[in-house]
Symmetry: D5
Subunit: 187 residues, 10 copies
């Protein structure tokens, strides 16, 4: 069974954020919308562009009340080291969680046991800590953070308007569908 | 561990396609690229718009050498019944697989055991039958089939150009990255 | 051991009845006599004629204080879709239970695990929720709902007249047998 | 799962037939159609009328190529004793199988373990030894052997005409349905 | 270990006695001496002569305060049927217990699991429900009820005269042995 | 299940016979009829009279082709010691088996595990080593060896005349019954 | 681990002593020093001489406050029988325990399971029921009871003089060693 | 069960003998008679006098073809150290086996698991490596090696004269008993 | 996982120290810094020089508030014996623990199960009984106790100055590093 | 049991060495002497000084035929990133192994499961891949690589001169001890 509809499992970790080391836990992913973005390894290739792309959307996401967390099985020390070294990573303002114990990656079912690295998984979590969307790509296929904004708007709309549903391709402001028995087999 | 990089597991099923009942198996998902789109139930609300959206991209996907399969735990009889009843579904030309034994939904880890219905999962499978991307949304959040085309192009590029990687937001024709030791920590 | 004399096991389900979606449970099968009629699949062949035949006897059954439930592993959405599409099914006034989780079919020992579909089983249940008769036919052999009425009358007579027994071919108004030691070996 | 579609399991037993003790086994139930009629106890009340009713239909059943077997957990000695004592039973020409080891009753899932007696189950078995219909009534509700003839004709028709199906209430000579895709949702 | 010295295990059964059906249990075998006589099958060959022989001793046994029970795995219905049919059995006045659930035969370790019939075992039980003697013969070797009377007298004497023992061949009125240390190795 | 109809299980033991120590095994109980007589303890009370009684019948038994074995859990040394000390035991000519390892007593289900002594069981074994009769008495109730002769004659008659059966009270020369279907319920 | 330093395990048994049968248990081996002498079998060869030898030392042992028990897996009846028959055994005044249930022999780890007989083990037990010495000889090698007296004196001295130790060959009245650090490596 | 009659189990160890370190194994205890003498600890109190006493008997034992081994859980290094330090131990000429792995002490069932030290056990082993006598004393009670010589002579006599047995107190040259049936109960 | 950071497990033992036998336990290793030095065997080759070297550093260690314990699987008796015999060992003033039960060696993971001897492991334990350093050498490679002093000073400095860390080659008085975020990747 | 004397277990990993990514396995640690140095984390505090210190001894170690490997659970990508960023680390010429799967750290028993980081363990491995020394320090206590050179010389001397042993504090050129029996207890 997928993780959709499941609450984030407990964890304890250190993260690097804004030049500081901070403590994060599953509680940090509650009370606001969260995007959690796993990637395999600091100082590797696709990752910086994906993380940079996420940073570029960070302001838009924050306006939507979304907090962003990146996670790899590297330590928070390495996140700082990478932040210092890489021009793209240096821009990052969101929390970069270190998961050397592999606990968080295992909790989100994205740990590759053989390599000890995380798959490229992105999760949207609602303010109750419940996972709303999962997206995982094989190595080499980059993620596009722009879609995240759209998905979050749809998820927020569904949460705010129980009883209505978003059709495919829904965009903010367009009509949504309100389910009723008459619609069965008619749409 | 996620299903990324895993081969599709064996199954036997009936599908409705182009006015006929056909046999499908895991072999049907090899030899070309495949998109497999799970949804909870025929004659329900969001589903038709998602499936219609997928149909609208069907020609584009076929040009890229991609075959499309939709799957629910309804029977192939019901798929035909729905196809006959619903204007949107009536347009569908790709194979609608019936999974009343729930085997395929279980194989792809998207079966909700309590309800007996599938989560809204979309999978891109390469010509070797290996899963390249997974995307799953909670009920109510529609999927946008347009992204699928972009993801498949990226996946195909990576497969055709081993040794290069697609950065985030990659689009056909833009530059990709060729990994080399010098790039470590420099991007 | 057969299910004869066993009480209906607990379940929770949705049904389509009279243009509405309703909740049903094992409690819905208590307090009056019930007929529960399993069949494999909506939008398939024998099924509609059997269900229509049952509908044709519905008034007679209701006069006997009997409620009728049909069950397949299709969803209640599909039942509505079928009800809208099929002339025969459209006549149906009794509750059509959706059992996509396969729980009810398993409880009544009529689930074919390989196909995920129910066998063609008919059950008469007394007002205490206790199964009084079971009848199951292989695919292709239709059931005749007329017999149901006779069986129910016999079952009701036995319940109302403890100590008497119905001989074979018993019909309302004919003599029944009252067991006594003298009858042993004499009938 | 019900016994429908399952082959009769092996057994060895003695039966009383036509004034003789004969050996019967699961092989005796192959090569022709068979009706197997379980009942709780010799020298009890409803049973003789049911068995007499079955005898009255014996000629009709034999014309359809059907062999009849009655089974209780009494011995073949008792069957003979009952045959000698009871006017109704004395007419019986079919084989009365003794099942004191309870093996056959267990094989057909009709043994009540607490009492050591069989439920009132009737089974139609095709020439391959495969169970086609099951009917079981609680104590006191007599069975009507007339229905058996109709059911067997339907079962024989389905076997002889693969690809056609009998609608409910089918009687010899009336039209049957030949399944085709066009009929889905149309009947 | 043999059943000698063990108390009769609990059971519930129906018996035929003096033209009536009565309830019997292990309690029926307490408060007086009991003879329990198992035999394989009603309407079989040796059995009637053994049971008749037991009936011929019934008055003598009752004078000794002994109740008699015969047991087979036939039902109490069959016992009545046999009692009606057989001249020898018709004389029987003691309780004929029906054991179709095989529980009593199993409790007394005389059930032949393969045939479902009881071995020819005779048990003497004292007023505390404790088994004092066991005798079992293979099929075909008849039992002689006369010996029972002698055995019961010996058993009653031992019970009434604790501290004395009956030598072999003891008959009522002859000397018994009172054990004392001096007798060791001297008899 | 009783030991009736079971073959004697393998054992190795020493016996005292005719002033010598001899080896005995289950093979010693084949090829002729055997009586095996268990008793609790040498130098105890009832036992000598029972064993003397058996000796008094020894010639009659030998004429019938029967060998006699007594068994206790005492050693063969003790059997010799008792034979030397006791007037009654001194007459014994049959083999007195020592069973200190308790194996034979366990094989014949007569070992009382708590005391380590054998119950008073007598077994008749046919020339194939198959147990034909079992008789066990509680302590204090002596056995009468005279009955043994009658039982053995009956057992031998049944073995020599397969198809006939001995009614109760059968004595040599009287009529036996030959089972036929006509006798069912008629005797 | 050997039994040295272990307390005697509970048991219940009968013994022959001074012309009477008495009850003995593990409690009988507490409150005074005890010698327990196992041997294989009454009426066998070495045993009488060993037991006679033990009797010859019985007065000396009693003066030391020692009680003596002999044990074999024979019954107390046999002990009496042997006592009556054998000149040597007839002298014995100590308790001869019967262990036909083999419990005591098993408790002292001297039971040969195959033969059901005890090994020739001698145990010295202190007033707390704790085993102080064990001596076991193979069959044929007689024990010399004289040594027992010496061993018991040594054991009693050690118990009465905690902190001193007896060197080898210690005899009453000679010097013992009082352990002190200075003696290490110096003796 | 005791170790009497069991073969020495395999082991590998180092010993100190005659100023050298040698390898010993269970094979060293075959081909001649052996005495194996366990003791708790080098440099402790009773031990040296016991080992000295054994040395004093060494010549006598060797004349009887007996090899002597002492064993403690100390190493062979410690044995040499003790041999150098202690006047009494310095006389020892037999092999002093080191058993720091505790394997030999465990094999002979004399290891006290809590302290890691061996009980004071002495074993006589015949030339086939089979244990003939066991003697174990609690701490503080010294062993007398003189008895060993007598025991070994008895053991050798029994081995050389199969069919004769040594009575208790047997000494070289005195009469032994040859077992015969006549002696039973007569000695 | 290594033992670093784990608390010493409970044990009970005897040690030789300053001409006396004393009790030691895990509590003896708390309240001050401890060095625990395992070695294979008393009276062996490298060991004395290592232990002498440790003694030579004993005063320096004591000034640092460190207690020293040596441990082998020899007994405390042997430690005294060795202390008396060896010139080098005779100098030792610290506690020499005897571990014949092998418990302590097992607790510190240095027991070689095959030989029953300890590996050459040295442990530094802080005043809370927590292991701070482990060093183990194969046989033949001697340890240099001088390093211990340096290591202990470093360990004590870290304990006294939480938040600072000792770089490699740290010696008393030189600068240490105080970790701060700015140092990451900069040292 | 410690890892001393055990062969390195198989593993597969990537390392950064001399500006390249190379494959390493347990085979890389055979054929020459190896030093394997675990540390918790790149970009942390003590670690760089320890690794620098090791680099400073690298030439000396190579002259002794020793290869050096550092290992942390960081990836080889991170090792390169750190090598680029840190002045001290930039000097390193030996292979820096990435162990993100934690396999090597687990093999050497230095993985802290809770943090996912390695303890500060240093191992010397001989040319057969057998571990000769282990040294592990708690966090904060730096290691001194100078000692390594001395230890390796001692280890090499022992390997080249079997039969001699190095006393504590051994340095190249000083005398070693050749073990002989005479030395026991004399050094």
């Amino acid at each position: 069974m997928s993780l959709i509809g499941k609450e984030v499992q407990p964890f304890q970790a250190k993260a690097f954020k804004n030049g500081e080391f901070i403590d994060v836990s599953e509680e940090s992913m509650k009370g606001q919308w969260s995007v959690v973005c796993f990637y395999p390894a600091d100082f590797s290739f696709v990752c910086p562009t994906e993380l940079e792309d996420l940073q570029n959307n960070y302001d838009a996401l924050k306006e939507l009340g979304v907090e962003v967390f990146s996670v790899s099985t590297d330590t928070h020390f390495v996140h700082k080291g990478w932040h210092d070294s890489s021009e793209k990573i240096n821009k990052i303002e969101y929390a970069m969680i270190g998961d050397p114990s592999q606990q968080i990656s295992r909790n989100f079912d994205v740990l590759d046991e053989e390599s000890g690295l995380a798959d490229r998984g992105t999760f949207i979590i609602d303010p109750d800590g419940v996972i709303q969307t999962v997206e995982i790509n094989a190595g080499g296929i980059g993620r596009d953070a722009d879609n995240l904004v759209g998905k979050i708007k749809a998820a927020q709309y569904v949460r705010s308007n129980p009883g209505e549903v978003c059709p495919a391709k829904w965009e903010e402001g367009t009509d949504t569908l309100t389910p009723s028995l008459d619609l069965v087999g008619k749409i």
